[in-house]
C-alpha cells in the first residue's frame, strides 16, 4: 500500500465559543453591570488557574468545525474539497498543514507536505522583492540553494523583474500577489495543500495560476488537495472530490458525482426565503427581504428569456428610523460553475437611488435585453450605505434563463458554446468595395 499518499481517519476539530447572555431588562442598572463583571472576573481567574482558554461572555458552547472526516488519496491524485462557507474546508487544510492539532482522529501523510493557505505569507513590507522571495520560499519549506536555482524562473513567472529590488510596500496589490504566487508555484513538495488562493489577481493571472497548478498535478504526479468554489476549476483539475457540510463529509467520490451534489445543496440554501436567511454580513440597517423576477411588461415570471427584457424586483427593508441615503446596490451573477459572469452595480452604472424611507421599499433592476445563454444562475446581493456594508448575501437567489429568440432567427448556440449572446453584423469586404451580405442587415442585429 505504499502508493497511498494521504490517509485521513475520523478527523475532528472542536472549538469553544463564548456567548454573552441576552439582556433581559430594557435598561441596565449599575448594580447589574458590577455584578456581572465581578462574576466574569471570578470565572476568568478560575479558568486561568485551570489553564483553560479565556473566553468572552457568560456561556460556553462546543463547536465542532470538523467531525469524523475520513478519506484516502493515492499518489498523484488530485482531490477537490468543496462546500459552503463555514463547512470546515479551511479547518481541514489547517490540520493537514500542521497549523492546528485535531481534537480526535488522525491523518497520515507520506511525503513532503507544503501548504498554501495564503499567498505572501511572511512578506515583510520593508524588504525588497528579492529578499522577500528568499524569506517566503524559506517559510514555505524551500531550501536556500533551491531558491537560488529557481530564482530567475520565479521572477520571470511573476512579471515584476523591473521592481525586484524595490521594497514590497511600494508594489501594487496585483504585483504583490503575482510575486507571492510565483514563489509558491515553484514549490516541489510531494503533497500540496491549496486553499482558494487562486481567487486573487486578475483574470489573466488566474489563468496562469490554474495552468501552473494543472502542470503540478498532471505532469509531476504530485498529490494535491485543492479547496475551491470554482466548479469549473474543480472539474477540470480534480479526479475526485469531497463535499463538506457543517464539518461532516456528505459526499465523496468522482467529481461527476460530487459536484452536482454541491450544486443541489446550494439550491437548497437559496430556497430559504431571503427574509429568514442568516448567512449574511453587514450592519443590517438595510436588508434585502425578497426578490422576484419580472418579464417584459412588468408581469411576474418564473424564469427569464434570452433576448427579452428582464427585471429583478429587489425589496429592501429599512430597519432604522431615518431615511437612508447614499445607497449602493450591487448584484453579482454567477453561473452554475461558480464563475462570476456579470455584475449589476449602481456605482458602475452611475445610478443614484433616491433615499429609502423606513419600512419596505422595492428597487427594480431592469436589463433591457437578457444576453445570458440559457441556464441556471445564482445571485449575490450586496448593499452598502456610504461605503459601510449594510447587507451582503452570497448565493441569495437562483434564477433560470430560458431559450428565447435572441437573434430573431429562432436559433441559439448549442449547449456549452459560450456564456453570452452578442449582437453582431457580418459584412463582406471585396477589398475596397463594401457590400452587405444579403439584402439587408440580418434580422435581429443592427
Amino acid at each position: 500500500m505504499s502508493d497511498i499518499a494521504v490517509i485521513v481517519e475520523n478527523l475532528s476539530k472542536r472549538y469553544f465559543i463564548g456567548h454573552q447572555s441576552v439582556q433581559r431588562e430594557r435598561y441596565t442598572a449599575l448594580r447589574d453591570v458590577i455584578g456581572r463583571n465581578a462574576l466574569n472576573m471570578v470565572r476568568k481567574a478560575r479558568d486561568l488557574v485551570q489553564g483553560k482558554q479565556i473566553l468572552h461572555g457568560d456561556a460556553v458552547e462546543e463547536f465542532w468545525a470538523l467531525r469524523d472526516v475520513s478519506f484516502e488519496l493515492k499518489r498523484g491524485e488530485v482531490l477537490g474539497i468543496v462546500g459552503r462557507n463555514g463547512a470546515g474546508k479551511s479547518t481541514l487544510l489547517k490540520i493537514l498543514g500542521r497549523i492546528t492539532k485535531p481534537t480526535e482522529g488522525r491523518a497520515i501523510l507520506r511525503g513532503r507536505v507544503a501548504s498554501l493557505l495564503e499567498v505572501g505569507t511572511g512578506f515583510h513590507p520593508e524588504l525588497t522583492g528579492r529578499e522577500n522571495i528568499f524569506l517566503n520560499g524559506a517559510m514555505l519549506g524551500m531550501k536556500q540553494n533551491e531558491i537560488f536555482r529557481k530564482f530567475d524562473e520565479i521572477v520571470a513567472f511573476s512579471g515584476v523583474e523591473r521592481f525586484i529590488d524595490t521594497p514590497v510596500k511600494r508594489f501594487s496589490s496585483g504585483m504583490y500577489v503575482r510575486l507571492a504566487f510565483a514563489v509558491a508555484a515553484h514549490l516541489e513538495p510531494e503533497i500540496l495543500v491549496v486553499d482558494e488562493v487562486l481567487a486573487v489577481g486578475d483574470a489573466e493571472f488566474q489563468k496562469k495560476c490554474l495552468g501552473k497548478m494543472q502542470d503540478v498535478a498532471s505532469k509531476h504526479g504530485r498529490t494535491v488537495l485543492f479547496v475551491s468554489h470554482n466548479m469549473a476549476a474543480v472539474e477540470s483539475m480534480c479526479g475526485s472530490a469531497l463535499l463538506l457540510a457543517d464539518g461532516r463529509c456528505t459526499a465523496q467520490g468522482g467529481t461527476a458525482k460530487v459536484v452536482p451534489e454541491y450544486l443541489r445543496e446550494m439550491c437548497r440554501v437559496s430556497a430559504v426565503p431571503l427574509d429568514e436567511r442568516t448567512d449574511r454580513e453587514g450592519s443590517g440597517d438595510l436588508r434585502t427581504v425578497s426578490l422576484s423576477l419580472e418579464g417584459p411588461g412588468g408581469s411576474t415570471v418564473s424564469a427569464f428569456q434570452c433576448g427579452a427584457e428582464a427585471t429583478l424586483l429587489v425589496v429592501t427593508e429599512n430597519r432604522t428610523r431615518r431615511e437612508v441615503r447614499g445607497l449602493r446596490m450591487s448584484l453579482g451573477i454567477d453561473n452554475e460553475m461558480g464563475q462570476r459572469v456579470a455584475v449589476l452595480d449602481t456605482a458602475l452604472c452611475g445610478a443614484q437611488i433616491p433615499s429609502i424611507r423606513p419600512g419596505r421599499e422595492g428597487i427594480r433592476v431592469v436589463i433591457p435585453r437578457m444576453t445570458l445563454i440559457p441556464g441556471r444562475y445564482r445571485l449575490t446581493i450586496y448593499l452598502d450605505v456610504n461605503g459601510i456594508i449594510a447587507d451582503w448575501i452570497k448565493n441569495a437567489a437562483i434564477f433560470d434563463v430560458e431559450a428565447g429568440d435572441y437573434y430573431g432567427t429562432g436559433r441559439l448556440p448549442s449547449v456549452g458554446e459560450g456564456m453570452f449572446l452578442m449582437d453582431c453584423r457580418f459584412i463582406a469586404d471585396r477589398l475596397g468595395q463594401l457590400e452587405a451580405v444579403g439584402a439587408a442587415p440580418l434580422a435581429g442585429c443592427w
Partner: protein, 274 residues
C-alpha cells in the same frame, strides 16, 4: 526515502528537534530579517544601538559614581565598570522584550504556515545579539580611551555571553508562549526589565552587597553574568565569586529547560488562540 508524518490528537512530536534542524535556514533568515528591518529607512541606522547604552552609562556614572560615591571594582574607572555591566544587560533585556512579543508580532505566520514555533523568539534574541556585538566594539573603543588594556581573561567572554543568551531565551520563550494565551504578560515584561535594571548590578558593583546576602543575590542569573563580564574585561581588578556564579548559571539553565518545556506544551494551541 519518503518521510511519513502522523498527525494525531495528543501525540507528542518526536521529530521536533529534527524539524528544528531541518528549518535551520528559516531560522537564519528570520534572524537576519529581524536585524535588517530594525534599521531600514533610518538615517543613523546601527548607531541607535550604541546611543542608548552609552547615555545610560553616562547617567549611571554621574548618579552612582559621583553623587552616591559608590566604589568601583578595583582600579577600573567607574564609567568602564558601568558599561561592562550595561553590555550583557542590554542583550538580556532587549532579547527578553523582543522574544516575548515575537509570537504576537508574527501572528499571521502562526495561522498560515507550519514551522517549529521555537524559531520565532530565538530569532528575536539573535537580533538583540547583533546589537550586543556593536556595543562590544564601542566598549573596546572606550577601553582604549581610558588606556585600560584587557587581560587574558577576555578570552572567556563568550562563556558569559552564552549564559546571558541562555537566560534571555529561557525566560523570553516562556513569556512568549504565555503572552499568546493571556495578553497580560505584555505588560509584565517592561516591568521586569525596569525593575531588573536597578536590582542587577548594572549601575553599581556587586561587592557593595553585604556578606550575608551575597549568595542569595546571585539567584538573579544576570548578577553572575555581569560579574563575569566585569572580571573578563577589567581583569583581576574585580574578583570572581565562584559559588555565586555557579548558582546564576544553574538558574539560567533551569529557566531554559522550563521555558522550552512550557513553550512546547502550549505550542499546539497557538494557532487557535492568537
Amino acid at each position: 526515502m519518503t518521510q511519513e508524518l502522523i498527525i494525531e490528537a495528543g501525540r507528542t512530536e518526536r521529530g521536533y528537534w529534527r524539524d528544528i534542524w531541518q528549518y535551520r535556514e528559516l531560522f537564519q533568515i528570520m534572524a537576519w530579517r529581524d536585524v535588517v528591518v530594525r534599521y531600514k529607512q533610518t538615517v543613523i541606522g546601527a548607531a541607535w544601538a550604541l546611543i542608548r547604552p552609552f547615555l545610560m552609562m553616562v547617567v549611571f556614572t554621574v548618579v552612582f559614581g559621583k553623587l552616591a560615591r559608590l566604589p568601583s571594582d578595583g582600579a577600573a574607572p567607574y564609567a568602564l565598570m558601568v558599561f561592562a555591566g550595561m553590555l550583557p544587560w542590554a542583550l538580556f533585556s532587549t532579547g527578553l522584550t523582543d522574544a516575548a512579543n515575537s509570537l504576537l508580532g508574527n501572528a499571521s505566520l502562526l495561522t498560515k504556515v507550519y514551522f517549529p514555533r521555537l524559531i520565532v523568539p530565538v530569532a528575536a534574541v539573535m537580533a538583540a545579539f547583533a546589537d550586543f556585538l556593536i556595543n562590544l566594539a564601542l566598549l573596546l573603543v572606550l577601553m582604549g580611551w581610558y588606556r585600560f588594556p584587557p587581560s587574558w581573561q577576555i578570552m572567556l567572554l563568550p562563556i558569559f555571553t552564552a549564559i546571558a543568551f541562555i537566560a534571555s531565551v529561557g525566560i523570553g520563550v516562556w513569556i512568549a508562549a504565555l503572552n499568546v494565551k493571556y495578553r497580560d504578560f505584555r505588560y509584565v515584561v517592561p516591568f521586569i526589565v525596569q525593575l531588573g535594571l536597578y536590582v542587577s548590578p548594572v549601575g553599581f558593583s556587586s561587592n557593595i552587597i553585604p556578606e550575608q546576602w551575597r549568595l542569595t543575590y546571585y539567584l538573579n542569573p544576570m548578577v553572575g553574568v555581569i560579574d563575569g563580564f566585569r572580571w573578563c574585561l577589567l581583569g583581576s581588578e574585580s574578583a570572581l565569586y565562584l559559588p555565586g556564579l555557579s548558582l546564576s548559571t544553574a538558574i539560567a539553565l533551569l529557566f531554559l529547560w522550563v521555558g522550552i518545556r512550557q513553550f512546547r506544551k502550549m505550542e499546539e494551541s497557538f494557532a487557535d488562540l492568537i
